[in-house]
């Protein structure tokens, strides 16, 4: 049994099974695929529907045949003779892979596999499209070298092969690549959009969900449609008989834990407390919560509680420490550094004569 997320994934760009929001954009994509298709770069936050749109586009281009996919492990050798493998999903018309899976060797993937794909042309191009499509996921985690490697490939073999990139943040894609693609921005759906889609799903599943619970889900999902649908399905699984109005959407434990940590920081600013907080941070890290997520959530809980005159300073510090966190190795230093900086700012402000 397929998850609802997959079951109700739109299949076409437009029409009955079409996408539910960003209709104008879908129209645009249809136009693009009809003429000679350029290289595309999809960017948008997770759960906004980038992948869905790419799939719809492929279907629009090649018809149903594109859905007959198979999983192939492709092997290649790095210049230092290391044997590596990468997982690809391919149909007769397209191939999909995530080169960043192989870390720093993604350059070799781009230089070998993608180029090889691009160099061979489609057989019998009269009956179908004359080009193939290479979908590269998580393009923003490609290394610089790999991105440079794509540059000439995209120009030289543009006839044979169109490249579709999908990424979350446009800023990590180098300028020359951006200028070779049409950038398709897929913003997160608005709350109304999410509500609309959820209504449609629960209606088709004949699942009764009180309106206020629906709204709560929409709010919790923060524009991530996938999360919204998954939460709805989880609710259905838990409450077979029906959902009461008063049902509480479960919050992950670690989130409560972070919330509690934030409360402690605000409660008292001293070195004892810093030690206590540190223990809690360690606890979180050892449970494999990504440090960037801890950072974000921590700030989210701290910021509304602090007086407006210090907000600027706090955010500046947060941005600084987040940067160091990304560059550095040991997460705990930077997390703790931020907490200490925050305490300092908070305390100085509180002790200032009014």
């Amino acid at each position: 049994m397929a998850l609802w997320v997959d079951k109700y994934r739109p299949k076409d760009l437009l029409g009955k099974d079409g996408v539910d929001y960003h209709i104008e954009q879908a129209n645009h994509l249809k136009f693009l695929s009809a003429d000679c298709m350029p290289h595309l770069l999809f960017c948008g936050p997770s759960g906004a529907g980038k992948k869905t749109r790419i799939k719809c586009l492929l279907r629009e281009l090649y018809g149903v045949g594109v859905e007959k996919t198979q999983l192939i492990m492709k092997s290649f050798t790095s210049p230092s003779n290391k044997k590596l493998e990468i997982q690809t999903v391919s149909s007769n018309y397209h191939i999909e892979m995530t080169p960043s899976d192989v870390g720093i060797y993604d350059r070799v993937v781009v230089q070998d596999l993608v180029k090889e794909m691009a160099q061979t042309s489609q057989i019998e191009s009269t009956s179908q499209r004359s080009f193939k499509v290479v979908v590269l996921c998580e393009a923003d985690s490609l290394t610089r070298d790999a991105q440079h490697g794509l540059r000439r490939t995209m120009e030289k073999y543009a006839n044979n092969c169109k490249i579709v990139l999908s990424c979350e943040s446009l800023s990590r894609i180098i300028e020359p690549l951006q200028s070779r693609c049409i950038i398709i921005n897929v913003p997160a759906p608005t709350d109304e959009d999410v509500t609309k889609v959820l209504r449609k799903v629960i209606e088709r599943e004949s699942f009764l969900l009180p309106e206020n619970v629906l709204q709560k889900i929409v709010e919790k999902s923060e524009g991530n449609l996938r999360r919204a649908i998954l939460m709805t399905e989880a609710l259905r699984m838990e409450n077979e008989s029906g959902v009461a109005e008063s049902v509480v959407i479960p919050v992950p434990e670690w989130e409560i834990y972070i919330q509690e940590t934030a409360r402690l920081i605000l409660q008292k600013q001293s070195s004892d407390m810093l030690l206590k907080v540190r223990e809690r941070l360690y606890e979180l890290l050892s449970r494999c919560i990504p440090p960037t997520v801890i950072f974000k959530k921590l700030l989210e809980h701290l910021l509304p509680k602090c007086p407006p005159q210090i907000a600027r300073e706090v955010v500046s510090e947060a941005a600084k420490f987040e940067h160091r966190l990304v560059l550095g190795q040991k997460a705990i230093f930077h997390l703790e550094g931020f907490v200490a900086a925050f305490m300092d700012i908070y305390l100085t402000n509180a002790s200032k004569p009014k």
Partner: protein
């Protein structure tokens, strides 16, 4: 193993416009007069130094190099005389030692025609993506075989090359194309493709592409089907492009009056609609135009924009940096 340099266009229909309208001869290269004059001189038999082309993307560096080689050598000997390596090829130190060296060493066969220049050319595209070691290995090669081989190095940032390599070449900077030339070029393409477009609309496309002609042509192509369909409503809504400009004007309006929670909410909104580092940059530009950022605070804000850009490029979230930017802005102007 060498593939043909450019795929022959037997079916011109499938070509993207950027390839279709890529300058074929030196005369077609827009605006880069010094380079074109020099290359033309070389075509007529004057001395040809090693060349280094640098400049922002989409200004015609690769096009100039390829057009020059194509005019210099007739098609039948093109592949013997020109070696084109770009970042999509393996270019470690081993390649410099073997492939480049052996190509430059090989002597020229007897050409049937006297008028063809007795030179081989190695085009190294995207040199700034080569490692320092590989660059260093090239130093001797460039000098030793200068009797028979010329290098054309192409890169975006000259500062990423090691100085010894730079000093061996004649440097040419490719300037960003000014607005009039871009509009003119886009106009020619529009006419050739039969897409009706007003000057204003072309200007919009151009502004969006920030001096990068390739991006402008790309955008134009993506708009073409809509423009041809002749639906005025659709036309307006696609030309306006992303919601960026709307968000930016929103920021400019509210920044003077908003309090902290409002700014936080605003930032959340912006990050949801996903724009990259370009958002901060454009916002900065707009604020400067509207004189919100003026002589007094441009120092502080400019520095902050630079810091934020660096942070984001290093892999941080947009949200925090944007918040930092907006809150500092608010504090400085109040």
């Amino acid at each position: 193993m060498e593939e043909p340099m450019e795929v022959d266009n037997k079916r011109p229909k499938v070509l993207t416009w950027t390839e279709k309208y890529r300058p074929k001869t030196l005369d077609d290269i827009a605006y880069q007069d010094e380079v074109v004059t020099m290359l033309k001189g070389a075509l007529q038999g004057r001395d040809l130094p090693h060349l280094l082309f640098y400049g922002p993307p989409g200004t015609g560096k690769t096009s100039a190099a390829l057009a020059f080689c194509r005019q210099l050598f007739p098609k039948n000997i093109f592949h013997d005389r020109v070696l084109d390596l770009n970042a999509s090829d393996e270019r470690g130190i081993a390649v410099v030692r073997q492939k480049i060296q052996s190509f430059s060493k090989s002597s020229l066969g007897h050409s049937h025609r006297e008028d063809v220049l007795k030179l081989k050319i190695i085009i190294l595209d995207e040199v700034d993506a080569m490692t320092r070691e590989a660059q260093a290995a090239m130093r001797r090669v460039i000098e030793d075989f200068s009797k028979t081989t010329r290098f054309i190095l192409i890169c975006n940032y000259v500062s990423r090359l090691i100085p010894p390599v730079v000093s061996r070449c004649a440097k040419f900077r490719f300037k960003s194309l000014p607005a009039e030339i871009q509009v003119q070029r886009l106009r020619t393409i529009c006419d050739a493709e039969g897409t009706p477009m007003s000057d204003d609309e072309l200007k919009q496309v151009m502004e969006y592409s920030e001096g990068d002609l390739r991006r402008a042509v790309c955008t134009l192509q993506s708009l073409a089907p809509i423009l041809k369909s002749g639906d005025d409503n659709a036309r307006n809504c696609y030309l306006r492009g992303s919601s960026d400009s709307l968000l930016i004007s929103n920021v400019c309006k509210s920044i003077l009056t908003a309090d902290v929670p409002q700014i936080i909410a605003l930032t959340k909104d912006i990050t949801k609609s996903c724009t990259g580092v370009a958002f901060i940059r454009r916002c900065f530009q707009q604020l400067m135009d509207e004189d919100v950022i003026n002589d007094e605070n441009i120092g502080v804000m400019g520095k902050l924009v630079a810091t934020c850009e660096k942070r984001i490029l290093d892999g941080c979230d947009l949200e925090n940096n944007l918040l930092d930017f907006l809150l500092t802005l608010r504090e400085t102007i109040q």
